[in-house]
């Protein structure tokens, strides 16, 4: 069934422009956030074939991670990484990323860009320096600015339905100080509720129809802060709270911060 965009949030539901529920049945397409800053598989298959395969399997959406570095890196990706997509040879990571977004939406898939990391690499752990939206090398302004670049690139593509603002908030050690993500306390360095609201509000100036996927604290395992404070961007009915669930989250391996609540 075709999705009537734009989407919005109604209570616990995501709904389309006709007020029908939209259930996101999606996959991640990883790689653009990692060392090569190139989505996986482009060395084996054309991006259009990968997109068609995902759709053929019945999925309707793709969460598409990137690193901030992916957005602005100026050097072309390694030719070998895009061997099955020769038209992308010589392209920057961001040009490859946007070409893949186009391939996905051309296949009818909804796409959710996700800021997975600040600098490219493997994700995630407490000491990777990527737990917050800033660190000693990446000022907060960079996060906000790059998100405007991303949203500006996709604002006119109705199947880019929203933005997953920051993957798995977690501790970060910056300048020898350990910063622990918080929710609703107003701390400008750690308050993700505030960060989500301010980033979403800024993006709404360039893409007023976007949903905003807001991941919980402790590796997206803790949304208990929403009991007392919700993410409130300027325009409402657009916030989707996001939890991640891994086998190791459950009782024996559940993060201590969650287990204690």
């Amino acid at each position: 069934m075709a999705i009537a965009t734009p989407l919005s949030v109604s209570g616990r539901w995501i709904t389309d422009a006709n007020a029908n529920r939209v259930k996101l049945s999606g996959v991640n397409w990883a790689g653009a956030h990692q060392d090569a800053m190139t989505p996986g598989g482009l060395d084996y298959r054309h991006r259009n074939d990968i997109a068609a395969q995902i759709a053929e399997w019945g999925f309707n959406s793709v969460r598409f991670p990137f690193a901030l570095q992916t957005v602005t890196a100026g050097a072309p990706v390694a030719v070998a990484r895009v061997a099955a997509n020769p038209d992308l040879a010589g392209s920057t990571p961001w040009q490859v990323y946007t070409a893949c977004v186009q391939a996905l939406t051309d296949a009818g898939l909804m796409v959710i860009p996700n800021c997975h990391l600040l600098y490219e690499g493997w994700c995630c752990w407490d000491r990777d320096g990527n737990g917050l939206w800033w660190n000693g090398n990446w000022p907060a302004a960079r996060f906000a600015g790059d998100w405007l670049t991303v949203a500006g690139a996709f604002a006119d593509n109705p199947l880019v339905i929203g933005y997953d603002l920051k993957n798995e908030p977690r501790k970060a050690t910056i300048g020898g100080t350990v910063y622990t993500p918080s929710w609703g306390d107003g701390n400008p360095d750690t308050d993700f509720c505030q960060l989500y609201a301010s980033t979403a509000t800024a993006i709404q100036a360039v893409d007023g129809n976007a949903l905003f996927f807001c991941e919980g604290l402790s590796y997206a395992a803790d949304l208990t802060g929403t009991r007392t404070k919700l993410v409130a961007p300027a325009k409402g009915n657009c916030v989707v709270y996001s939890m991640h669930d891994y086998a190791w989250y459950h009782p024996a391996g559940q993060p201590a911060a969650v287990r204690a609540r």
């Binding site: 939209v22 049945s25 598989g41 395969q53 019945g58 493997w122 752990w125 990777d128 891994y246």
Partner: protein, 52 residues
């Protein structure tokens, strides 16, 4: 950070390693685990909620 044993899942990767747990097969030509795909397909459709 290749070579680091990850806190979360203890998997170890080096630069250039190919994912061994994705839905796509290693050569991206098909599904890696048909049973997993079938399980996911069984829950793709919405069963409750507003609208049609």
């Amino acid at each position: 950070m290749p070579g680091i044993t990850r806190q979360a899942n203890q998997l170890q990767f080096a630069l250039g390693d190919r994912s061994s747990y994705g839905l796509f097969a290693q050569d991206w030509t098909g599904v890696s685990n048909p049973a997993l795909l079938e399980a996911l397909q069984a829950i793709q459709a919405a069963t409750i909620g507003p609208g049609a």
